[in-house]
């Protein structure tokens, strides 16, 4: 499922390959490569462009605009962030904390719910399947959810308002349930039972260890969702004293840089506030917020592909 094709990848050592009898002609191959290659490049290009902008000298930027080939480079933006950015670093910390706690919570909730649904012997399967999957068809909407969070749970301006809304979804449950059903044979569970293991022991000691690829898939989906979330902060974070998560802080500095200049005055450097490289600092923040994903995702990509094909094909 994770392989692009059943055909083996070309061996690097082979000098001459026999052409596949059913392959497209070389001309079409070039045309297809150009179309796909250009689109693929257009997906990566903006990130490279932002890196270049973040490394541009602020004065040059004002004069020349955003340019691929600025006449003068500078690392002033990064220098500024790492020297004065205590607020920025704590924002990173909030996002990291939310991502780790949220993903763990998500894994506990999703695996246990999906495991029960995957067991054919579970007599309430129908009811709990409906309970989960009906939420895909109908939802109360943004406002009642907001009222529940703020008036009932009173969690606004806490990290829990960022964690809870994203910790479960019917989609995660479908992916995980399908994974349990297809990769954990009933015989394993039955034999564990015969050996005297209870349901919990079987789940923790037998089922979870053989389900690591599925858990990795859900864990990655979930952590990506937390890392990229700004919407819940937009709804629930309205106290300027609270350090916002990274994505929400990027939204705030998009509107104005007061947040950062205030910070510069805090450390008592008036010069720094005056010559604050605003545009390049913004772009440098974008680079720092995006870099972890860009660096990590090529390695995790196959888990994503696996998860979303399972979820969409068999849902």
């Amino acid at each position: 499922m994770t392989q692009l094709s059943t055909q083996a990848a070309p061996q690097p050592g082979k000098v001459k390959k026999k052409r596949d009898y059913n392959a497209i002609t070389p001309v079409w191959n070039v045309i297809f490569n150009i179309i796909i290659g250009l689109f693929s490049f257009s997906c990566v290009f903006p990130f490279l462009f932002v890196i270049i902008i973040s490394l541009t000298d602020e004065q040059t930027l004002v004069q020349e605009g955003f340019s691929l080939f600025p006449s003068q480079f500078s690392i002033a933006a990064y220098d500024y962030i790492f020297r004065s950015g205590s607020e920025l670093i704590s924002s990173f910390g909030v996002t990291l904390l939310v991502t780790v706690l949220g993903t763990l919570l998500s894994l506990v909730l999703v695996t246990s719910y999906a495991y029960a649904l995957s067991r054919r012997s579970f007599e309430f399967r129908g009811f709990f399947s409906f309970l989960a999957f009906f939420t895909m068809l109908f939802s109360g909407g943004m406002v009642p959810g907001y009222i529940v969070m703020t008036q009932f749970l009173h969690l606004q301006n806490t990290i829990w308002s960022l964690i809870f809304p994203l910790s479960m979804s019917a989609f995660f449950i479908i992916v995980m349930r399908t994974f349990f059903q297809t990769t954990v044979p009933d015989e394993i569970i039955e034999s564990a039972k015969i050996d005297g293991a209870g349901e919990f022991l079987t789940f923790v000691k037998i089922v979870l260890p053989v389900s690591l690829p599925g858990i990795a898939t859900i864990g990655l989906f979930s952590s990506l969702g937390y890392w990229n979330d700004w919407f819940n902060a937009l709804l629930y974070y309205n106290n300027p004293q609270k350090t916002p998560p990274l994505q929400f802080m990027l939204m705030q500095i998009e509107k104005n840089m007061d947040f950062l200049t205030k910070n510069a005055q805090n450390i008592g450097s008036f010069d720094m506030a005056a010559s604050l490289p605003t545009e390049t600092v913004r772009m440098a923040m974008v680079v720092l917020a995006t870099a972890p994903i860009v660096l990590a995702y090529p390695f995790f990509q196959r888990y994503f592909v696996q998860g979303l094909t399972v979820g969409s094909v068999k849902g």
Partner: protein, 309 residues
């Protein structure tokens, strides 16, 4: 009754395991569903907590809906939501399937993998980041597009206050961000097609085009139908970031960027009108539910196996 209790006791271990998730669904999915009765009430916060607020608020029945539908807003947001989503669904389907077919035909599989990795990247980035990306092109004084325009002697365009360009910008960026994800799904399905079909077709002298037309596309049909039904069921829901974050919440662009989700958000946060925005949200959910039931019903009539329920 005692039979039920016996059943509960028999399944106690699995019931305990499913309990935490169930509590989550009750609080974060079903309690808000119950909360939609606020659409029929004039919401007043009560000191005695959430339930007291909900119950003590006065019934106004359809006043909130009346208010919503007598303004011009209801028409504009419904039109924007449906037209944008329809265009995104159709263009997205055609482009994603085309790209998946192209990728599967590339001779060099290693290059195909590299292209796929690149195409997938925008899906992993948040709308905040994408909005910064767009700004590097669309900024009034520094943006690349205006640099090109002035290079050819044209006038700078103030992109974030000119509504006429935004339908294209929104569709372009929406497709750009989502197409990699969707073509990965279709590519996985193409990979799963039995190779003997193609072998038989080659023996019969079928051209590549005919193989795509008569084998690949029909084999992808079930998946295309399922994904399209799901998308049509969600046609009343929009990707909030695409319509809020990308245009930088610019007021001048509201006529072409306001969709139901952004309308509900602004109604709640900017105007604090709980009743009316709950009503708009309920309208969205109800129509969405009806649409998905109809879509599924139609598919079941045509091809029973492909229906989702």
């Amino acid at each position: 009754m005692s039979a039920f209790f016996k059943k509960v006791i028999r399944n106690r271990a699995l019931l305990i395991m499913i309990l935490p998730g169930t509590i989550w669904f009750l609080i974060f999915a079903y309690l808000p569903m119950f909360g939609t009765i606020l659409a029929f009430k004039d919401f007043r916060i009560s000191r005695d907590g959430f339930f007291a607020s909900v119950f003590n608020s006065e019934w106004v029945w359809f006043k909130n809906f009346e208010y919503l539908f007598t303004t011009n807003d209801a028409f504009i947001i419904t039109r924007n939501t449906i037209l944008y989503n329809l265009a995104l669904i159709i263009l997205g389907l055609v482009i994603a399937v085309s790209f998946a077919v192209l990728l599967s035909e590339l001779v060099n599989k290693r290059m195909a993998k590299i292209y796929q990795t690149g195409m997938f990247l925008p899906h992993f980035l948040s709308w905040v980041i994408i909005s910064y990306f767009a700004f590097t092109f669309l900024s009034m004084d520094k943006g690349t597009v205006n640099q090109i325009i002035t290079f050819f002697g044209g006038e700078r365009i103030s992109w974030y206050s000119e509504p006429k360009y935004w339908p294209f910008i929104i569709l372009f960026v929406g497709i750009w961000k989502g197409v990699g994800y969707n073509s990965v799904i279709y590519l996985a399905a193409i990979t799963g097609i039995d190779k003997s079909y193609y072998e038989a077709a080659v023996i019969d002298g079928a051209s590549k085009w005919k193989q795509i037309r008569y084998i690949t596309i029909p084999q992808l049909k079930p998946l295309m139908i399922i994904l399209t039904i799901l998308a049509i069921g969600g046609i009343f829901r929009s990707d909030f970031g695409l319509f809020y974050q990308l245009p930088k919440d610019s007021g001048a662009l509201y006529p072409v960027t306001n969709v139901i989700d952004t309308f509900v958000y602004r109604g709640l946060i900017n105007m604090g009108d709980v009743g009316m925005s709950t009503a708009a949200g309920l309208y969205q959910s109800m129509v969405g539910l009806v649409l998905i039931l109809i879509a599924n019903y139609i598919v079941r009539k045509i091809e029973k196996d492909h229906a989702i329920f």
